[in-house]
Point group: C2
Chain length 354, copies 2
C-alpha cells in the first residue's frame, strides 16, 4: 500500500479496501457522522461506504450533481438540515464526491457552529489530484467562481482508486488537465510520462496520480495560504476560471479541467510573449491541449466579459491583472503583470485556435 | 493612555483621539478600505471617522441596525457589493458599530475570497467588553443565534470611549450585563465594584471596562477555540441565546445583554441546585439582575420552544444539555450536565420571578 502523504496538519491515505477507513480515530472522537453526496456518488459510491459499520447510523445529505450546486442557497439548505438533525460539535462531515462536493462541504463544515471537522473521500481524478488536498474550500457567488470560501483543512483524505472506474471519459479528461498542469510546473519528463499514457491510461497507472499529488504537496507545503509560490498552481486558472464562470452564466457549463486546459493555452501564449517560454514547447503543449480539450469550448467568447471576470478573480490585486506564468517547463513565475491589451490578445489567440 | 491589550495574534488599542488610528500599518498594507456601518453608526460615528485621511476614499456599506440584520441574505448582499467594487486581497473591512456589525463583518471578511483582514471599532459597551474581542464571528440561521460563523481574528481593535456617550440607556444596560457576567466569573469584589457605580456609572469609569476586558482576555488566552475553560464565558448564554432567538422569532427582539442577564438568573438557579452556589449570593445577584432587566422580558415563555432552542445551541453536545455554571463567585465550571427536567424547572423559576 502507498504510504500516506502529509499536507499541513492532515494526511491523505491510500486505502485498497474501504474497510481501512474504519481504523481512523475520527469516528470515535466525532460520533455523529454526516455524509454529503451528489446524485452520482449516491448511486455509484455511497452503497460501498454504507457497508461499513461506522456509517450505519450516518445522516445522508444529497445535493444535485454539477458545479452550479456550489451556491449560497445550497449552503443554507445544508446548514438547516444540520440544525434540524441537531448536529453539534460532535459531528463530522464526510464529503463523498468530486471537487464540487468537497469545495461545498468543506465550506459548510468550516462555518457550521464555527467549524466542525470534515473528511474528504474524492471520487474523481480531479478531486484526487487537486480539489480535496490543499485546504481550499468555497462556493460561487455573483457569477464569480469560488468567490466565497475558506482555507479549511480536512481531518483526513482517503483515496480509494476503484471509485475512478465508474467515471465517464470527460470526467477523467477534466482531472487529467490538472495533472498536465502539475507536469508543466514540474518538468518536461513528467509531461512526457503523462502524454505517453494519455488520459485513459492514468487509472491503470496510479503512480501518475501520486506523482501529481506530490507536486501539489511540495508547493502547498511551502505556502499554504497562497501568499507566494502557491500562486504558481493557478497556471491556467485565471483565464480558466473566467471561461468556467462565463460558461455557467450562459447555461452551458464546462467542466473545471476543460476550462483550465484551455486557460493554459492562453496563459502559455502569454508566457511566450512575456517570459520567453520556448516557441517549440508552446506549439507542442498547446496542440496537445487543443486536441484533447478544444472541442469542448462551445460558447461564444465575449472578450469584454472575460476580461471583467479576470479582473474579479481573487488571485488578482485590484485594478491590475496578475498571472502565474511559465518561463520554461518546470520554471513557473507568479505575480506577473499582464496588461489588458495582452490579456485580450491571448484571448483572441485562443479563440482563433479553436 | 491605557496600554494595548493583546488577544491571540492581535491587539486592542485605546485611542483618545481617532487620529491615533492612522498610525497603524494596516492602511499601508491593505490600501482598499471598506467601512461597514449600520444606520446608527452611520449617523453618530462615521462622520468622526471620515475626518481621517485614510478613510477619504473608503467604500461605505450600510446595513440596517438590529440583530435581525445578522442573516445570510445580508452576507450575500455585502459580498455582492464587494465583488461589484472589485475588492481584492488588498482590501480591509472596518466594522464600525456594535456586536451585530462586528459579528456580521467578521464573518463576511473571513469568507470573502477565502479571507480578507478586518478591523473592529466597537461603538457600544457590549461590543467593547465582549463582541469585538475574542475572535468569534457569526450570523443567525434557522432561528438559531450565531449558528453559522467562524473563529476569525481581527487585525486590530480600536476602543474610542467617547463613542459610548451617544448610546441610549438600554444599550448601556445591555453591555453592563456582560460586565456583570465577567464579575461573577472573577469574584465578589469585582461584582461589588460594578454594583457600586451601576450601569450609568461605567462610562465615567472606563477602568471598569478595562477590567472586564482583562477577565475576558485571561480566559480566551488560555483557550481561544473554546475547547474547555472558554466555555465558562457562556454563563447565562445558553438560556440567554434561547430567549434571544425566541424573542426574534416572535418579532419582539430583546437586546443580547438583557437576555444574558435573564439567562444568568436561570443558570444561577441551576448553579444553586447542581453546584451548591450559595443561596444568599443567589438572592442578592438575581434580585439585582431582575431589578435591572426583568421588565424587558415582554414575551410569553414557551418552555418547549426554549428547551428545543437550548438543545440546538452550539455549546451543547447533541442529545444532552451541557451548561457553564458557577460554584461560587469567581469559581465557574463547564460541561455541567443538566437534565431536561432541571432546565424546565429553571425556566419555570425565571418565569415566576418576573
Amino acid at each position: 500500500m502507498q504510504p500516506a502523504l502529509t499536507f499541513g496538519n492532515y494526511q491523505a491515505h491510500f486505502v485498497d479496501t474501504l474497510q481501512q477507513l474504519e481504523a481512523h480515530e475520527v469516528w470515535q472522537r466525532q460520533p455523529f457522522t454526516i455524509v454529503l453526496v451528489d446524485s452520482n456518488t449516491r448511486a455509484y459510491c455511497l452503497p460501498r461506504l454504507m457497508e461499513l459499520a461506522v456509517f450505519q447510523d450516518a445522516l445522508i445529505l444529497e445535493v444535485p450533481a454539477g458545479e452550479s450546486t456550489k451556491n449560497l442557497d445550497m449552503c443554507e439548505h445544508i446548514w438547516e438540515s444540520l440544525l434540524a438533525a441537531k448536529a453539534g460539535r460532535d459531528a463530522v462531515l464526510v464529503n463523498l464526491g468530486g471537487g464540487m462536493v468537497s469545495d461545498l462541504g468543506g465550506f459548510v463544515a468550516g462555518a457550521y457552529k464555527r467549524g466542525i471537522p470534515f473528511i474528504n473521500i474524492p471520487t474523481t481524478v480531479l478531486a484526487m489530484v487537486d480539489a480535496t488536498v490543499g485546504a481550499k474550500t468555497g462556493i460561487n457567488l455573483g457569477g464569480v467562481k469560488n468567490s466565497i470560501g475558506l482555507f479549511n483543512e480536512p481531518e483526513a483524505v482517503f483515496f480509494h482508486l476503484p471509485f475512478l472506474e465508474t467515471l465517464p471519459h470527460e470526467e477523467v479528461l477534466s482531472g487529467f488537465a490538472e495533472m498536465l498542469k502539475h507536469a508543466l510546473l514540474s518538468g518536461q519528463e513528467h509531461w512526457d510520462a503523462l502524454v505517453a499514457v494519455g488520459p485513459e491510461g492514468i487509472i491503470a497507472n496510479p503512480e501518475l496520480i501520486i506523482r501529481s499529488l506530490k507536486v501539489k504537496q511540495a508547493i502547498v507545503g511551502q505556502d499554504p495560504l497562497e501568499q507566494g509560490i502557491r500562486k504558481t498552481l493557478n497556471l491556467g486558472h485565471t483565464i480558466g476560471h473566467a471561461l468556467e464562470s462565463e460558461s455557467m452564466r450562459l447555461g452551458k457549463p464546462l467542466l473545471h479541467g476543460h476550462t483550465v486546459a484551455l486557460g493554459m493555452v492562453a496563459e502559455l501564449w502569454l508566457s511566450m510573449q512575456i517570459l520567453g517560454f520556448p516557441q517549440k514547447d508552446f506549439k507542442a503543449v498547446s496542440n496537445y491541449l487543443l486536441g484533447l480539450y478544444g472541442s469542448f469550448l462551445n460558447i461564444d467568447l465575449s472578450l469584454d466579459n472575460l476580461a471583467e471576470l479576470v479582473g474579479n478573480d481573487k488571485k488578482n490585486r485590484s485594478k491590475q491583472f496578475s498571472f502565474s506564468l511559465l518561463q520554461q517547463f518546470g520554471k513557473p513565475e507568479y505575480n506577473c503583470n499582464v496588461s489588458r491589451e495582452q490579456l485580450l490578445e491571448a484571448l483572441v489567440y485562443l479563440r482563433g485556435s479553436l
